[in-house]
Symmetry: C2
Subunit: 363 residues, 2 copies
Amino acid sequence: MGFGGTRFSRKDVPVEQELAASVGDLLRSTPGISRDDIDAVLVATNDNAVYLSAILAELAGISPRIAHTVENLCSSGTNAIVSGAAYVASGLAETVLVAGADRFDSPGQVLSWDRSRGEFGRPVFWASMFASAYKREFGVSDEDLACVPVKNRRNAADNPRAYPDAEVTIQDVLDSRELTGDLRLYECSRPCTGACAVLLASESAARGLAETPVWIRGIGQKTTSASFAGSRDLTRMESTALAARDALSMAGTDPGGIDVTEVHDAFGVCEPLALEDLGFADKGSGARLSKDLLETGDRSVNPRGGLIGAGHPLGATGVAQTAEIVSQLQGRSGRRQVQGARRGLVHNMSAAATSSTVLVMGS
Amino acid sequence: MGFGGTRFSRKDVPVEQELAASVGDLLRSTPGISRDDIDAVLVATNDNAVYLSAILAELAGISPRIAHTVENLCSSGTNAIVSGAAYVASGLAETVLVAGADRFDSPGQVLSWDRSRGEFGRPVFWASMFASAYKREFGVSDEDLACVPVKNRRNAADNPRAYPDAEVTIQDVLDSRELTGDLRLYECSRPCTGACAVLLASESAARGLAETPVWIRGIGQKTTSASFAGSRDLTRMESTALAARDALSMAGTDPGGIDVTEVHDAFGVCEPLALEDLGFADKGSGARLSKDLLETGDRSVNPRGGLIGAGHPLGATGVAQTAEIVSQLQGRSGRRQVQGARRGLVHNMSAAATSSTVLVMGS
């Protein structure tokens, strides 16, 4: 599995340009690939532009058989990757290029369809409800939760494709602008412009393209609803738990068998919740795990910096998470490298965890 | 394969409402299906709304594993169907619901990305160039081409889901408003609001759902470019020819083995061009075939009325074409029925035939 990407930024450029740059980077870093061998081009985005896969194909000099755009808010990227995996597994394609991109002003950032949210259509409001419930239920403090952005921004400092920013301390997080009673500015992922691309291939095609191919071993997805309305346990992300169960079972492993993980920390509180629902920590102890990882300098969760550290160009995020796990399993992550990582997990979700994708990957 | 849909119209309603209505219709007409058995919900649309698959799933009472939106302009519908087929063939899903919808004011109707088109960003301009070249190259007259809308509007009169409109005569077509030097109003498909849904299932699941299941036997897709710029033969739709070759080969048949066909007549001239590139007529004789079908009352091409007769709500079109072939192969098409039809073909394309999908289906 090859990959390429752009540095996440605040650039005011069209998604077409970012997509083409990420694919150019991928093609340059995958010398064995010929454009004629690419059977499918899938674009993951929330951008309102149409016919983006055909446009990207033409810009990149590819004439694929299969080409379309995939959209599912913040998990568009992994939805396109799972589609690509289905095309390969079905025999309809040998090689699939998946490229995700969005701009800093992506329309996917407002949950405009859910009138039950009243004035609270921005994701920060559901995240705030999660943070409030989590702190109350498990006696977690603001200081505990502040460990997540501190750790992930520290990891991002070693990721040359991350949205550039200074590292922060726990005190900086606590002092940052209060957006709601339970969430501060530094606890939020940042909208930005960026793209990332990965190349999926069948077993025979992959062996010709990479010395150490990385395989998708398990896939789990679940959509529980679209709206936030109705009763639900605000300290549990059910779609994540169900997707993780299926992905780990398909891969024939359990959380203990995973060496490195990208989790969807759209907001700080999402990391401990995800660590718990993925099975890495008991309920209520995810924040403790994030804090331990910070204190021991352990890079095994969100080594590229997560969404908080790297930035969150919606359609690019799931693809960038997957590319990071590929890089880790190939031992190419430099100062971010988790030594000896052989199995990795990607967790990508949308809209208050009303849907989730979990991928288990192995070298 | 079950199906359901709304009547195409000028209704000013959200796509969510049309999608939910088409799925309600499908579920009512597929008594064997349980909502719990639906593994994937794919939406095909050009609408700018986000997270539509999760919204549709919630409206329909479904909690799927896989859910996202697929966009590829006018062939969004068949792109979603091919994705659904890939999920089933890969084993990632047993049952996939595909629903396509657009509104009369869909943003997919302007080819806004191709600056090489100058002021001519609306599809009517490329269609006009096709018509001009086709008439010049093969000595075809305006009267010959006018047979296509006459035939397809006649067929649509027997399709209860078609955009309602009076039948027309050849003279009516010739007298209708001239949009360009080579295209008149009645030669154009009409933007409208509508939705259609189909249910794909694995062999074992399908046998439990339908007395006479219809199978996808062949799939072909090709994207040659995105832009209209550059030299090309204006009387040939290369992506269609390549997709047809692959789909017929996969199905182990040839054009002579097809009993009923839906072709993408976005404009009148597209029908003869498609009939030629699909292999049903020699180059230059497609218009003669359309005229013969009109004169003999033969329904085997565009029995539901095509895009010109039925209307063209972009994301719904490829799904509605597929549903019509299912209906024909199950002998459920009433006055539109092609007697004894056992094999059918769907041809769906985008943007001046820069990309095409061809499906071959069999009972």
